[in-house]
């Protein structure tokens, strides 16, 4: 256990090192999650609009 604690301590600089790695983890994971949400929401909106299109096309066909 002492070995693990001294590993985390990183020669007295653990706070700096783990904060740096932690921020990289948070930012990269966060950007990935936001981007995935962006593509999912835009796809849902596109599908929603696409569902409306056949009715409009049918009505256009009827008109012609």
């Amino acid at each position: 256990m002492d070995g693990f604690a001294s590993y985390l301590n990183m020669g007295g600089h653990g706070g700096f090192i783990w904060s740096a790695y932690g921020m990289v983890f948070i930012v990269l994971l966060g950007l990935w999650l936001i981007s995935r949400r962006y593509v999912r929401l835009s796809k849902a909106q596109l599908d929603h609009l696409d569902q409306k299109r056949p009715h409009r096309q049918e009505s256009q066909t009827d008109e012609t």
């Binding site: 990183m10 700096f16 929401l41 796809k43 609009l49 409306k52």
Partner: protein, 257 residues
């Protein structure tokens, strides 16, 4: 010509769906192996001790900050000159990723600077030029989204990206041109890397992990940008057809911005 072939978003989406799972797998594998070497299998530095481990995230983030800006400027130029629609989208999709890498380079650099230099921040050439790069990314994103017509936004932001690209060589050579606390290049230099393989391996693995992550998230964001373009044209058609425009799209834009 392949360059023009992928100006068609539908054709591009087919290619993107082929590459995306490989980029995701490469990101996970490279990060796992890179972190193993960076945090467990590599030695401490004889001068810097364990803080050298910050290098394995700081240097790749800084490399990617410059790479993304260059890629964004090239894509913006292609969009501006040849009216290549997918290139415009690539530039827009790259900006937030590059901004994140730049923020991480500044943040991890600050955490490395405190124990090694005794200060979180110093207004020297390298640090200041990277901070300017971060503001250039923010300015690009603000300008690209400042117009109702996305084509006008792309054009204005492309010009900003091209003017700002002069900052990239300034960042790279700032440590040679001016006196600075920041150390000079150790890996990319004419005489070859001045770094032991035990430290070079985790550095290269982490750099490749960051690159794979960029490709992965870039493709995700480009898909979203293509969807947004299709939504915009469908809503325009609704307006031209005399139907009330669907307001749901606004919610999406608000949710992700």
């Amino acid at each position: 010509m392949i360059f023009h072939k992928y100006a068609n978003p539908t054709r591009f989406l087919k290619l993107a769906s082929l590459i995306q799972p490989w980029a995701a797998a490469a990101t996970v594998l490279l990060f796992l192996s890179g972190l193993y070497f960076a945090l467990l299998a590599s030695p401490g530095d004889y001068q810097q001790g364990e803080t050298v481990r910050i290098m394995y995230i700081h240097v790749p983030a800084a490399w990617m900050a410059m790479f993304c800006y260059t890629a964004m400027a090239v894509a913006a130029a292609v969009g501006l000159i040849w009216k290549h629609p997918v290139a415009d989208l690539a530039a827009r999709a790259t900006a937030p990723i590059g901004a994140c890498f730049t923020f991480l380079a500044l943040f991890t650099g600050s955490l490395w600077g405190k124990p090694m230099w005794g200060t979180w921040w110093v207004w020297d050439a390298r640090l200041t030029s990277v901070l300017i790069l971060f503001f250039l990314y923010l300015g690009y994103m603000a300008l690209a989204n400042a117009f109702d017509d996305p084509a006008r936004g792309s054009k204005a932001s492309a010009i900003l990206a091209l003017v700002g690209v002069v900052n990239v060589p300034v960042i790279k050579f700032s440590v040679d041109w001016w006196n600075t606390l920041h150390q000079p290049a150790s890996v990319v230099k004419m005489s070859g890397p001045a770094i032991h393989p035990s430290m070079l391996i985790p550095l290269i693995l982490m750099a490749l992990a960051f690159k794979a992550y960029y490709i992965w998230v870039l493709l995700i964001r480009m898909r979203a940008e293509i969807n947004e373009g299709k939504i915009r044209s469908l809503r325009l058609r609704q307006v031209h057809a005399g139907q009330p425009p669907d307001a749901a799209g606004d919610k999406i834009t608000q949710a992700v911005n």
